[in-house]
């Protein structure tokens, strides 16, 4: 009977959801391994698993936009975990840490409007840094190209 289902049917979508859930199960099994490298990446692996699971849950409510946002987050996390698994050089991050000034105390908020303004500066701070993305992708290209 499966041959009667067309692309875009609910059946098609549910089968794809099953595949994603199975991939998440494999990821969960990976988390339980006593491998040193896996243990180092454990928080990020859990985050990837959770994000993928959340995207699957959003399907039930047809929350496509929210799912897109999470998928964007998932792709960033996957790129990061791939980079870390292949020993991404963190010297740039270290130099930034050294050069960055000492942390300043949070500014005093005197009114609700100040709080709103402060909130605006916090929003979308963690948008993707395209320069860093290109660096990471170039690194993956070099590493994976060499290994395969």
């Amino acid at each position: 009977m499966d041959i009667y289902h067309k692309f875009g049917s609910r059946w098609f979508c549910l089968r794809m959801l099953d595949s994603l859930n199975e991939q998440c199960l494999v990821l969960n099994k990976l988390e339980q391994q006593a491998d040193e490298r896996v243990r180092r990446l454990l928080p990020l692996i859990s985050a990837i698993s959770g994000t993928a699971h959340a995207i699957g849950l959003l399907r039930g409510d047809c929350l496509l936009n929210d799912a897109y946002v999470l998928a964007r987050l998932l792709s960033e996390r996957v790129i990061t975990v791939c980079c870390l698994a292949l020993d991404y050089p963190t010297d740039a991050t270290a130099s930034v840490k050294v050069q960055s000034p000492a942390p300043q105390a949070a500014p005093f908020v005197s009114s609700a409007m100040d709080l709103v303004d402060l909130g605006k500066s916090f929003r979308f701070v963690e948008t993707y840094d395209s320069q860093e993305l290109e660096r990471k992708l170039a690194f993956l290209e070099t590493k994976r190209g060499r290994s395969q």
Binding site: F7, C62, L64, L74, E141
Partner: protein, 158 residues
């Protein structure tokens, strides 16, 4: 014709595509502002169909599946983790073969204007989810019986 079949080599183009692709609809991203509300009201005039959501979600879930597989294949490179990598590759193959079916048109005679077919699909999926765990402990027994040819003798005559 292009195929979703996985190719050997570097997958940075896929990752680049994934990052570039996931953009929420602008009207929803602007939600909260006056302009965003106006955009949303304008967008509500033509509600996307259920098929649209299912298609979009299918592609989205497939790419998420690919992303998770990408991370597993990068991490599970040691011989101890090869079984997990093989599992992941098998699941990815299944998803890819399913995705390849989007090119196959369904017979024009098949119509589901009342939504009965979709309803049945939901029931089937729900039943599978409920029964899968309950029946898992009998899995070995069932397969042994099947190998021994026992279930055939208990099936009711047609």
């Amino acid at each position: 014709m292009h195929s979703w079949k996985r190719k050997e080599g570097v997958h940075s183009e896929f990752l680049r595509l994934a990052v570039a692709h996931y953009q929420p609809v602008a009207s929803a991203a602007l939600g909260g502002s006056l302009f965003g509300s106006v955009c949303q009201i304008a967008a509500c005039k033509g509600q996307p169909s259920q098929d649209f959501f299912q298609e979009e979600f299918t592609v989205l879930l497939f790419s998420c599946c690919s992303l998770v597989h990408e991370s597993i294949s990068t991490i599970a490179t040691t011989p101890q983790l090869s079984a997990l990598l093989a599992d992941s590759a098998r699941i990815m193959e299944t998803a890819a073969s399913l995705m390849n079916r989007f090119k196959e048109p369904v017979d024009a005679n098949i119509k589901d204007s009342e939504g009965w077919w979709d309803g049945l699909v939901d029931f089937e999926h729900s039943a599978q989810e409920r029964l899968k765990e309950a029946l898992s402990s009998f899995g070995t027994a069932f397969s042994l019986l099947a190998e021994a040819g026992c279930p055939g003798s208990h099936t009711p005559p047609r």
